[in-house]
């Protein structure tokens, strides 16, 4: 039996993040759903779409206009602020992600951390704030605009290099904490700029991932900072950490963040049990095996599994592979609608 949608996409997303009832589970995009075909559709290829606000806005909008997602996210990658800080960048071609050359870190320790003059005017920052303004104007109150600001752990990887930073957590945890507290100011600055530009929600990726960082480390180094972000950034925050994170989900649930965007390496029901109602969950359709390599039916099965577990927002587990086929992405909102219709009346 068909159901009737009574909410705008934005109302749906914001209600889910606030723990309020929704007409159906929203389909959100806390990270990225841009693909090479969508880039061609609107003539907004990478890397340009990561550097120009109009291209970013055009490409981001396709997530809603073509794929049917309830949100739009113009920050596709994870490198914009690191580029603005002066990190050595590898911009790549249309079909690959821009990355930071972390083997050439720009800083050595906490005392090196500083905010360059005019950071918010840097091209790669303006690409995001400018695109949010454009999207806000075009989509107004209909669609949730999700910005993104990197957390201090991710920034630390970029500015110090992964290995030096992780060694520092063992050799000098006090210095590590000092660095994280300084870097978080960049997270706040960029987050505030996006909110001012019109972002309704912010994704907060902070890559304290399970394969390199224990749950205990998360609690020790990041839980308090993440709780502080909730106080300082006045929009719902979606924390994103890749990989196996069941062990830290109980800590994450205590931060006060609105939502945790989780990886397919975590079973949806186990994740729901781990957070125990303390935080909403977004996810967790698998990227490399399902969205990239399989078809709409496999996508549907994963979406259903998430819905049956009670996951509050359905999303790919992370930024989708750039060569993902469009029909697989379209299958996500379709599956949510079908599941809802099957249970209506």
């Amino acid at each position: 039996m068909a159901y009737i949608e009574t909410m705008t996409p934005k109302e749906r997303v914001m209600s889910a993040l606030a723990g309020r009832p929704v007409d159906r589970t929203p389909v959100a995009n806390p990270t990225n759903v841009a693909t090479v075909e969508l880039m061609d559709l609107v003539d907004a290829p990478f890397p340009g779409a990561c550097q120009d606000p109009e291209l970013a806005a055009r490409l981001a909008a396709t997530g809603h206009t073509e794929l049917g997602f309830d949100s739009i996210s113009p920050y596709f990658s994870i490198i914009q602020e690191s580029s603005a800080l002066g990190c050595d960048m590898q911009w790549e071609e249309k079909d690959n992600w821009p990355t930071v050359r972390m083997q050439r870190p720009i800083w050595k320790g906490a005392d090196d951390i500083h905010v360059p003059a005019g950071l918010l005017l840097h091209r790669d920052i303006q690409a995001i704030t400018g695109s949010i303004k454009i999207l806000k104007e075009e989509f107004g109150d209909q669609v949730a605009i999700i910005g993104k600001t990197m957390g201090p752990w991710t920034l630390a990887y970029h500015v110090f290099g992964v290995e030096p930073f992780l060694l520092g957590t063992v050799d000098n945890p006090d210095e590590t904490l000092k660095a994280l507290h300084k870097l978080k100011e960049i997270s706040v600055m960029f987050g505030e700029a996006q909110i001012e530009a019109g972002a309704d929600v912010l994704t907060f990726p902070d890559h304290a991932t399970g394969d390199l960082v224990s749950g205990e480390y998360y609690q020790r180094f990041l839980q308090e900072i993440h709780a502080e972000m909730v106080e300082r950034l006045p929009v719902p925050l979606i924390l994103h950490i890749c990989g196996k994170t069941i062990d830290r989900m109980p800590y994450i649930a205590q931060t006060g963040m609105a939502c945790f965007h989780f990886d397919s390496k975590n079973d949806p029901q186990e994740a729901m049990d781990a957070v125990d109602g303390g935080i909403a969950l977004a996810g967790n359709v698998n990227n490399p095996e399902t969205l990239y390599a399989r078809g709409p039916e496999e996508v549907r099965q994963e979406v259903y599994r998430c819905l049956e577990a009670g996951v509050q927002m359905i999303a790919p587990e992370c930024a989708v592979p750039l060569a993902t086929k469009i029909e697989n992405l379209m299958a996500i909102p379709q599956a949510v609608k079908d599941w809802t219709a099957e249970r209506s009346g």
Binding site: T31, N32, V36, E37, L38, M39, D40, L41, D43, P45, E66, L67, S77, I78, E93, K94, D95, N96, W97, T99, V100, M102, Y157, V162, H207, T209, D211, L212, C242, G243, N287, P288, Y292, A293, G295, P296, C318, A319, P321, L322, A323, K325, I326, E327, M330
Partner: protein, 229 residues
């Protein structure tokens, strides 16, 4: 499925949902066409009909797709769907999805003026001094291609078995006897065999290539440098 000329391939006309509805699922996607402004080229399939599609609206994109279509025919032995610029099928009526991947890669990746050789089906082995020779089946040959190796090498029999395994793996073919291979349709597809030969002779290289393709454009803790893996 026929694609009428007046609503034929027109990058401006169709949005993704319409393309999928009209032309089916995307079987393969070449993210970057190096011979035309890095546009993406998709191969959509509905039944046995394959449609080449790009969402790019760049001037000349339609002509470029036509060239790729012609290469699919020249390289792979496909036939055009009448009154279309961008649709092809195999004469046997089967889809042959697996080898289509490699055919598309060659049709897009080779120079637009590349012509396939008309010589016999043979190729130098990449892992030995042998030459791989494939003989076309006769009229009543049941579509079975016999694969042989010529020249001197240690364990030519082992190499032959590996090469046969390559045809099975990448062509979705069946073994037929000790050294025969056939497509599932049982029909002759000599041009497709020629497409598959370079891949079949070096499974490990192809697997590495495919793995690299898969990894490219994926955001993982590995590709971001945030992992030991």
């Amino acid at each position: 499925m026929m694609n009428r000329k007046d609503i034929s391939f027109n990058p401006s006309a169709l949005r993704p949902a319409e393309v999928i509805q009209r032309y089916g699922q995307c079987l393969e996607l070449v993210p970057i066409d190096k011979y035309f402004h890095d546009i993406s080229i998709g191969l959509y399939a509905k039944g046995a009909v394959c449609t080449l599609w790009t969402f790019s609206k760049k001037e000349g994109a339609r002509d470029r797709v036509k060239v790729i279509r012609d290469q699919m025919i020249a390289l792979g032995g496909m036939e055009r769907i009448p009154e279309t610029d961008n649709q092809v099928r195999f004469p046997c009526g089967h889809l042959h999805a697996k080898p289509l991947k490699f055919l598309l890669a060659q049709a897009v990746g080779k120079s637009p003026d590349y012509s396939p050789p008309e010589a016999n089906l043979e190729i130098k082995d990449s892992k030995s001094d042998l030459t791989i020779v494939v003989s076309e089946p006769g009229k009543d040959g049941g579509g079975i291609y016999q694969v042989g190796v010529e020249g001197d090498a240690r364990n030519p029999g082992v190499r032959l078995q590996m090469i046969l395994a390559g045809f099975v793996r990448y062509g979705d073919m069946h073994l037929a006897g000790e050294s025969g291979i056939r497509f599932q349709c049982g029909e002759r597809h000599g041009q497709l065999v020629r497409v598959l030969m370079p891949y079949s002779r070096n499974i490990s290289n192809v697997e590495n290539m495919l793995a690299a393709e898969i990894t490219r454009g994926q955001m993982t803790t590995g590709t971001l440098g945030f992992s030991q893996v």
